[in-house]
């Protein structure tokens, strides 16, 4: 379970998060929506322990990730998978090496087993045949899928997705969302998806939270959020619905 308790964060005197509190129960997926620059990715980085809050805390199974250091922090992160907005693949490694890297470094699996596991994972995300290409040789959608394979290869308990469909065409974007949903069905991870894909993302998540001016403006089931009469929520969700 992920508990975000009263998290505040400022950069150079500018407040980005002003007391955000959210709870994501085990096995559930939350979509985090909101206007660009409202602090969604910043909040996600707090959950991953890449940033520490100025005030408040983020608990992962009752363990404060912000105050954890050294081995306890690494142990917490080993349970996490993170899909970066740009993929963050190691550009000097092939797709195969990228996906195999966490297995080689953090498990004692044999080379043959790692090879078969990586090939399976790449097939699952539709990258069979591109194993030995480098990140610079493949498209943006393929980079996202390779990054997803790398994030999922160790069967994480918690998955964090930072705008997984940004910059992709609608067909590839849909395919990525379906892939995330299929992986969730299989692995039952607890997840947070930062996204602008409204209403498409509503069909694959359990809860939706909207960040507005540094606070949680609305939280509930996708149906609750769609039916919300709050003007700020309507201005955002309603507009997206109309465009869809």
């Amino acid at each position: 379970m992920i508990q975000i308790e009263n998290v505040h964060k400022s950069f150079d005197g500018h407040s980005v998060l002003k007391g955000v509190s959210l709870t994501i129960p085990e096995g559930k997926v939350l979509a985090l929506i909101g206007a660009s620059g409202c602090g969604k990715s910043v909040l996600l980085k707090h959950v991953a322990g890449l940033m520490t809050p100025d005030q408040g805390r983020v608990l992962i199974d009752d363990q404060d990730i912000g105050s954890s250091k050294g081995k306890p922090l690494r142990a917490l992160r080993e349970r996490l998978g993170f899909l970066f907005q740009g993929g963050a693949l190691f550009d000097s490694m092939s797709i195969f090496e990228n996906v195999a890297f966490p297995l080689k470094e953090k498990t004692r699996l044999s080379d043959a087993l790692i090879r078969s596991r990586v090939f399976d994972e790449l097939e699952r995300v539709g990258l069979a045949g591109s194993e030995f290409k480098y990140p610079s040789q493949i498209s943006g959608g393929m980079v996202k899928r390779a990054a997803l394979a790398r994030a999922l290869v160790r069967d994480p308990e918690i998955m964090l997705f930072d705008e997984p469909t940004t910059g992709l065409d609608p067909v590839i974007g849909d395919a990525i969302l379906k892939l995330i949903d299929a992986c969730h069905q299989k692995l039952s991870f607890t997840g947070i998806i930062v996204t602008h894909e409204i209403p498409k993302v509503f069909s694959i998540v359990d809860r939706v939270a909207m960040l507005h001016e540094g606070t949680v403006k609305a939280e509930g089931s996708p149906q609750d959020i769609s039916a919300s009469e709050d003007p700020a929520v309507q201005a955002f969700v309603g507009k997206e619905f109309r465009e869809a």
């Binding site: 890449l50 690494r74 992160r77 080993e78 970066f84 740009g86 963050a88 550009d91 470094e105 953090k106």
Partner: protein, 271 residues
């Protein structure tokens, strides 16, 4: 009038405030840099060392620098051969060309020029590589896999630099001494016996060790500064390609300056 008056009082205060912020900023950077070195040294002595990555960096910093070290060593020795011969011949002391070339190279020019060459060739590349990894979130990805970036990125570079610098310096010295002999011995007529025997008489083991100690410390400086500048790219030098470019430039400039400053202190201590 009131408006102008308030500006007049504010300007000196703003200047003091800016000076204070500038000083604090520099102190913060120096402290961060010091802590970075401590962490890098700590993870160097705490196993495991990533052996494959270490060998890769030894190949990059050491083996791939051999050609540039050969060329700079040969031409530095040849210049010393010319300059030394003409200077010594004024006093009728051409026979001491060997010791002059040997001591100059072994104690001073070898370690310093080798370190400056490695900074330009490998140090800049290290800073750029880590900087690009930082801005493209590859360092964050490493951390999120539960892996320690110091162990993966800094320690192999640090160990490779500390291992390679003395070896490259020795190679530079040998090539330089033969370069000096080609000019002094073959071109200007100082016999090989005189050149090498006088060198053997005057160059002592302590002179050779002085050069080795210097090159070891230069290895620490290069890996420390270049890894630090790359690792803190988005924090201290800005974002994107411009941030990486600034970090790389700063890494080369700061390493080169520190090498020369530290060389002075080492020479004073070991003189």
């Amino acid at each position: 009038m009131t408006y102008k008056g308030s500006f007049a009082t504010l300007r000196p205060m703003n200047a003091v405030r800016k000076l204070g912020a500038y000083t604090l900023g520099h102190l913060y950077r120096m402290g961060t840099m010091g802590l970075f070195l401590v962490r890098m040294l700590a993870y160097t002595v705490i196993p495991p060392v990533k052996l494959i990555r270490l060998l890769k960096q030894i190949r990059f910093i050491g083996f791939q620098s051999l050609l540039v070290i050969f060329l700079t060593g040969a031409f530095s020795g040849m210049v010393l051969g010319f300059q030394g011969y003409y200077s010594l011949s004024r006093f009728g002391s051409e026979a001491f060309l060997g010791p002059m070339v040997g001591l100059s190279l072994i104690k001073e020019l070898g370690p310093v020029i080798t370190a400056l060459m490695v900074t330009g060739r490998a140090g800049s590349a290290i800073a750029a590589e880590i900087g690009i990894m930082r801005i493209s979130e590859q360092v964050d990805a490493l951390e999120l896999m539960g892996l320690n970036p110091y162990r993966y990125l800094m320690v192999p570079n640090f160990l490779a630099a500390v291992i390679c610098l003395p070896l490259l310096t020795s190679f530079f010295d040998v090539v330089g001494i033969f370069g000096g002999y080609v000019i002094g011995g073959k071109l200007l007529g100082v016999g090989p016996g005189t050149y090498f025997m006088e060198m053997a008489n005057y160059v002592e083991m302590s002179d050779i060790m002085e050069g080795i100690y210097k090159s070891l410390s230069f290895g620490v400086i290069i890996s420390w500064v270049c890894c630090f500048k790359g690792f803190y790219t988005s924090i201290f030098t800005g974002f994107g390609a411009e941030g990486v470019s600034k970090a790389t430039t700063q890494a080369v400039v700061l390493s080169s300056v520190l090498i020369l400053v530290w060389d002075y202190f080492m020479t004073s201590l070991l003189f």
